[in-house]
């Protein structure tokens, strides 16, 4: 193998798959997909340093799950090439996260106690670690695969933990050096605007952010109350962004109150990003709305958050079901009022984060679902009550939610003195002359690139989507930053970017068998009395223990967590996490298919109890157990670490069995004898070997069988029919001894199943790719069972090894050598002899209709200068489809001409 790897004329394309084959013998075009290895083969020295800090461990495929390997690994010690590879797959959490934060990475780092590194890793994607860790609506948790075990991970709370433990002591960042001369203006300091600023400044651009309000942070600062997001957390994260070199101009509205206009920005800056949010509250449009005591949630929360004095009454009704409504209600409660939320749909339709709704209810807020105000009543200019009407849910509207319709004569009255309206917000676009708005009153921008129709102007966040959520705003800001960079560098806005990530539902994750359930941790909360009367933070965060335990529940769906620890250790600088898959186009004359076999999976035959005891092994597992590099260093031990006293070996598991495969797998008898010999020699244990027939088919094999008989192995002729796991862990094997003609059983410490070989599960796809046939057993079909064992029906394609049928190593080597010889013989000739069954055009009959051109599967026919069909004999395979299509019998497949076939038909009928 080593020699093949080093040979100058052999190029190994490892970690690759053939995806397309075109052409014909001597002229194949093969397209190969090279999976990203994330390691530069030319640089990797194979030293193995990188493995040390990798936090992810999974079962080793090579050791058939008996040992663990890291996410960065060398498939096995003698692997060719000897370089490492990173096993990286999509994970539901990172795919679902709108900002695509490497969730599993920071969870793995937290699990190892590397909190600084976890924080630094999240900060590579976003500066809002403590903020998102508190207010994110965490769609990732809905998709976390751990939900299939018991409950999703507390991903959001873990992010918060990383911030809480590591941020206070993390050194402040140094300003980023300017790389590019261009400057970008950003309007709005919400999560969208500041995320774009964060990414752009780190790329090396000059960034100025304009903010109308006296504080930065957008709705994070003036919408979300302090009991959910303490002011110092947000401020610290904004300071972090500023420290990198972002300039923030507060109290500077764009396009109004004397501030610069959009035109000014377009002139003075090289690009503009509009992230103005959605702050204009929608009106109720009911009588009495102008009474004093009617407030809007955005104004109410802004005033509260800015520390201004706010006056509300004793009995407050909040109208709406979004986050702003819940926040307004919980804030009013904290100011000492009695609060009722009135929402026109049911609880399930509420757009607010469900946990927030629960918290509001716990704190004593009343809910009126399926109700809406019809008028606000007043006396002497003072509010006295609000009249509502009950609603029921009708047909779904364009948002997919069922539209509420009023129930006639169901009015009722609530006695209130304050009404806080929170039924939605729109962006205030009036000051931004020149931009385009949608029918919804939001800004028009491409949802992928964030480009607006105005040259050099981009937009994102709530201003484009309408009120959404912080993480979507972060994601929009990041996308806009990348687009602005491309725009300024004259690059295509789309090329090579991934806008659609795999859907969580399409991501296959194998949940390890026998995984132990572990309850999801929840954060402790402030005592209720304090919650109701102060604006202190309600959720208290994880303790270190809780965080570590929670992190340990992660299933490592993506395997590689992208924590970047390996990159830091690799001295050769060979690791590149951004590698993408590549396609290589090869021109080859011949193809040898050597795709191998699949080991029979004994769980398909439940009578053997495979998987129910760790001491029931497949032949392959036993091979690994006895290997010096294996889990026990080559010693034969039970899972309990004891030397077995009695061992049973069962032949033909999954072979010669109508319930599995009918074929004989050929190699199992001999490997089972080898196993028996090893067990006798190394442990002296009693060995019972259950066999149907002993097939010692090769040179020296019968002699070996005799020797094993002399070893004292007890041979029982008859199929092992059942393995039962006894309560004490012992294994009871039953069989029928066909020599004695009666059932027998043996109680043993270890069972080795002689699992057979079968065609690989992807054999069908491979067969189609290379134009191969398959025999009834599923293996690839050779051209002739006796005379042409390595050729296939597709000329120039040969078979080598077990993809064609079960065989042992010497036979595989022989078969492969034969395939090589056949391929060489073909190539050294340099010409191919094709079969004479090709089509031929009788020019005088050809009308040039072109039907044959369309019919030919090989494009072997074309119309020549005279408008007549012409066959390229090298391409024609002689299928004759053209002849059947030709309306004037002008094209004849030689040896299968019409006359010849008709003669045959007439002949057989005589």
């Amino acid at each position: 193998m080593m020699d093949a790897g080093r040979h100058p004329n052999i190029e190994l394309l490892s970690y690759s798959a053939v995806v397309d084959v075109q052409g014909y013998v001597g002229n194949f075009q093969v397209r190969v997909k090279k999976k990203p290895r994330y390691i530069d083969l030319t640089k990797c020295t194979g030293c193995g340093e990188c493995v040390k800090e990798c936090p992810v461990e999974v079962d080793s495929e090579f050791e058939v799950g008996l040992t663990k390997r890291k996410a960065i690994y060398r498939p096995f010690a003698q692997a060719i090439p000897p370089a490492f590879v990173i096993d990286k797959r999509p994970s539901p959490c990172k795919s679902t996260c709108p900002a695509h934060i490497p969730v599993q990475g920071y969870i793995a780092l937290i699990g190892q106690g590397k909190y600084d590194k976890a924080l630094a890793l999240i900060r590579e994607t976003t500066a809002f670690v403590g903020t998102l860790g508190r207010v994110c609506h965490h769609p990732c948790e809905l998709e976390c695969k751990r939900k299939d075990v018991e409950a999703p991970l507390a991903i959001c709370a873990l992010k918060r933990f990383a911030y809480d433990v590591a941020a206070p002591t993390a050194p402040p960042p140094a300003p980023v050096e300017r790389v590019y001369g261009e400057k970008v203006a950003i309007v709005g300091t919400g999560p969208a605007g500041l995320s774009a600023a964060y990414d752009l400044v780190r790329m090396g651009y000059g960034v100025t952010v304009y903010e109308a309000l006296p504080v930065a942070g957008g709705m994070l600062a003036v919408g979300i109350p302090a009991y959910r997001l303490p002011k110092d957390v947000l401020q610290q994260e904004i300071d972090y962004i500023k420290a990198l070199g972002v300039e923030i101009k507060l109290n500077t509205p764009i396009g109004r109150d004397g501030g610069p206009t959009l035109e000014d920005l377009r002139r003075d800056y090289d690009a503009v990003f509009l992230a103005v949010g959605a702050h204009r509250s929608r009106q109720l449009n009911v009588p009495g709305e102008d009474l004093p005591g009617v407030l809007h949630s955005t104004d109410f929360l802004r005033a509260l958050n800015l520390g201004q004095e706010v006056k509300i009454g004793k009995r407050v009704a909040v109208i709406g079901g979004g986050n702003a409504a819940i926040d307004a209600a919980r804030s009013a409660l904290r100011l000492g009022s009695q609060v009722t939320i009135v929402y026109r749909r049911s609880r399930a339709e509420m757009p607010a984060i469900p946990a927030e709704v629960d918290a509001a209810e716990e704190e004593g807020i009343a809910f009126h679902f399926l109700a809406t105000p019809v008028r606000i009543l007043g006396e002497n200019g003072r509010m006295t009550a609000m009249e509502c009407i009950r609603m029921e849910l009708g047909a779904p509207d364009e948002s997919g939610r069922r539209r509420p319709v009023p129930v006639p004569s169901s009015e009722f009255t609530l006695e209130v003195d304050t009404v806080i309206v929170s039924i939605g917000q729109q962006p205030d676009l009036a000051p931004l002359a020149g931009v385009e708005a949608t029918g919804w009153g939001t800004l028009t921008a491409d949802p992928d690139t964030m480009a607006t129709p105005v040259e050099g102007v981009f937009a994102g966040g709530d201003a484009v989507t309408g009120p959404a959520s912080a993480v979507w705003a972060v994601a929009a800001g990041k996308r806009a930053a990348e687009s602005i960079h491309r725009y300024l560098r004259g690059l295509d806005l789309r090329q090579g970017r991934v806008f659609e990530w795999p859907k969580a539902a399409d991501i296959q994750v194998e949940i390890p068998a026998g995984i132990e359930k572990a309850a999801r941790r929840e954060m402790a909360a402030l005592p209720m009395a304090e919650r109701k009367s102060t604006f202190k933070e309600v959720e208290l965060g994880f303790t270190e223990e809780e965080a570590r335990a929670e992190a340990a529940r992660c299933l490592s769906c993506a395997v590689c967590s992208e924590c970047q620890e390996c990159v830091k250790l690799c001295e050769a600088k060979a690791i590149d996490h951004n590698m993408r898959e590549e396609f290589v186009d090869l021109e080859v004359g011949t193809i040898i298919v050597a795709t191998g076999f699949a080991d029979f999976d004994p769980t398909r035959l439940p009578q053997y109890s495979y998987g129910r005891s760790p001491n029931i092994l497949t032949g392959m597992e036993f091979e690994r157990l006895t290997s010096a590099g294996g889990p026990t260093g080559g010693e034969i031990l039970t899972a309990e670490g004891k030397v077995p006293e009695r061992v049973a070996i069962i032949h033909c598991v999954g072979s010669r069995d109508v319930n599995a495969n009918r074929h004989c797998s050929r190699v199992c008898c001999m490997y089972a004898l080898k196993h028996a010999h090893l067990v006798r020699e190394m442990t002296g244990a009693e060995v019972y070997e259950f066999y149907m027939d002993m097939r010692t088919f090769g040179k020296g094999y019968e002699e070996f069988y005799e020797r094993v008989q002399e070893d004292g192995v007890i041979f029982v002729r008859g199929r092992g029919t059942e393995v039962r796991v006894r309560e004490d862990g012992k294994l009871v094997v039953r069989a029928e001894d066909t020599n004695l003609g009666r059932p027998v059983s043996a109680t043993v410490d270890m069972v080795i199943l002689g699992t057979g070989m079968e065609a690989r599960p992807d054999a069908d796809q491979v067969a189609r790719l290379f134009g191969l046939g398959r025999t009834a057993d599923g293996f690839f079909a050779e051209a002739h069972p006796k005379l042409r064992p390595v050729e296939t029906n597709t000329e120039g394609v040969f078979l080598a090894g077990t993809c064609q049928g079960p065989r042992d190593v010497p036979d595989t080597v022989a078969h492969a050598s034969a395939a090589a010889a056949q391929a060489l013989a073909l190539m050294s000739k340099g010409v191919v002899t094709i079969s004479p069954t090709v089509s031929h055009v009788l020019t005088r009959f050809c009308t040039g209709c072109g039907k044959c051109v369309l019919a030919c599967p090989y494009n072997a026919i074309s119309l020549n200068g005279d408008g007549k069909a012409e066959v390229n004999a090298a391409l024609c395979k002689g299928c004759g489809t053209c002849a059947a299509a030709c309306p004037s019998d002008a094209i004849v497949p030689l040896h299968f001409t019409d006359d010849q076939l008709v003669a045959q038909i007439v002949g057989v009928l005589q």
């Binding site: 046939g773 599967p857 395979k877 019409d898």
Partner: protein
């Protein structure tokens, strides 16, 4: 109808790569096959033109069976895509000519499906036996040649 000793004669067009191989496998496996099947090997089921089918019927066959590779498995990639369009058209044409369309059948047999080959041929022979001999008044006079 089968009581009168009528033995239908069936021309079976077998593509070289799948169905002919399937027939071969059936023979090697010593499966019982109806002797009524008269095989004609073609390279691909796509080679079987309307003319071939009609010629067989006019020359005395009581039924015609066209067997090819399963869709997707055609040795020539798409040869059988043509067959799949052609045969239903031919069956309609046969209806016009006053021939029961069920005397023509298209099916797929892979090289490994010996049992399937035996089953299809046996079934088809029985179906044609039930239809009785094909009587074409003009059989002798008609000639497509």
């Amino acid at each position: 109808m089968s009581g009168d000793g009528f033995e239908p004669r069936i021309v079976a067009f077998l593509c070289n790569w799948c169905s002919y191989a399937g027939a071969d496998t059936a023979g090697v496996s010593r499966l019982e096959l109806p002797p009524n099947i008269l095989p004609v090997r073609v390279m691909c089921s796509g080679r079987v033109s309307a003319e071939m089918v009609l010629k067989a019927l006019l020359s005395g066959a009581d039924g015609v069976l066209v067997l090819g590779c399963h869709i997707g498995d055609c040795h020539y990639g798409s040869g059988n895509h043509r067959t799949v369009k052609r045969i239903p058209l031919l069956r309609r044409l046969m209806t016009y000519m006053g021939i029961e369309p069920d005397r023509l059948r298209l099916d797929w047999v892979s090289g490994a499906e010996a049992g399937h080959f035996a089953k299809i041929t046996t079934e088809f022979v029985e179906a044609v036996r039930a239809l009785g001999p094909l009587s074409l008044p003009l059989r002798e006079d008609l000639d497509t040649g």
